[in-house]
């Protein structure tokens, strides 16, 4: 197995773990943790393709990963702000209990 394939397999495993966490946990914060893991697995893919790609000096994959990290930070801030706001209304972060859109 080539080195790139090993990195891709690790990233796929991490992505699946994050997906399983996002789909099976009840707490909204744990779902956000799962989404963060999935984003990080995608970043690992980008960096691995940059490292073993034909033109690493063009920095394309690296830049993609850096911008992805910045966007993930914004996503985490807004998502956790939403969780705190929902907790103030419903007094729970249990996603099974949040079954209506009206506040």
């Amino acid at each position: 197995m080539t080195p790139l394939a090993s990195y891709l397999l690790v990233a796929a495993l991490l992505f699946s773990i994050g997906l399983a966490g996002a789909l099976t946990r009840r707490s909204a914060i744990l779902v956000l943790i799962g989404i963060e893991l999935m984003l990080n697995a995608a970043n690992l893919n980008l960096i691995a393709f940059w490292r073993y790609g034909p033109h690493p000096e063009a920095l394309t994959g690296m830049m993609f990963a850096i911008f992805s990290i910045a966007v993930a930070a914004a996503e985490a801030a807004v998502g956790l702000g939403l969780v705190i706001h929902i907790h103030r209304y419903a007094h729970t972060t249990n996603l099974d209990a949040m079954n209506r859109m009206k506040g």
Partner: protein, 166 residues
């Protein structure tokens, strides 16, 4: 592949598994930090020093702390009565396993066409900075705008509303 790669990958995967499996939410956040650190080490192993240190700064320094703040503000560390897993967790598990099967199959099938060992790319921070200011200046501005908007939005969303002002 060397043993360093296997060691770091095992650390990352175990951290990720613990982050989604543990019952106590605070322990999940700590396990998530371990997974982030493992990913940063993987980036450094891939000779992407800047991305590795950005990962440490942004994820371990900011996102993990933010998650801990949210857990403590919402009293999420108390284990709920109905269990920590959603009602239809087997469906989610099957979907995740299916996704992993498809991804793993695709990677293993394409193993022969993937490139082998290449020369280590030498990338300095000066080159990254020049690229950010030259070719990637428009994405940089958009990200700056996005971060400002997200910061204002997060403050407005989480701001305490006054009574009778719903």
């Amino acid at each position: 592949m060397n043993s360093v790669f296997y060691l770091i990958s095992a650390l990352t995967v175990v951290g990720g598994l613990a982050a989604v499996l543990l019952r106590n939410t605070v322990h999940c956040a700590l396990a998530l930090t371990v997974a982030f650190a493992g990913l940063a080490l993987l980036f450094l192993d891939l000779d992407a020093q800047f991305a590795g240190f950005a990962q440490i700064l942004v994820y371990i320094g900011a996102v993990a702390i933010l998650v801990v703040f949210a857990i403590l503000l919402t009293r999420g560390s108390e284990t709920p009565k109905g269990g920590v897993y959603s009602r239809n967790w087997p469906v989610g598990l099957v979907i995740a396993a299916g996704v992993f099967a498809v991804l793993g199959w695709a990677v293993l099938q394409s193993g022969s066409v993937l490139p082998h060992e290449t020369a280590v790319p030498v990338v300095t921070v000066r080159q990254i900075g020049n690229a950010l200011m030259d070719r990637y200046v428009l994405p940089l501005e958009i990200v700056a705008l996005l971060l400002t908007t997200a910061m204002i939005g997060a403050v407005i969303v989480a701001m305490h509303e006054k009574e009778g002002q719903k």
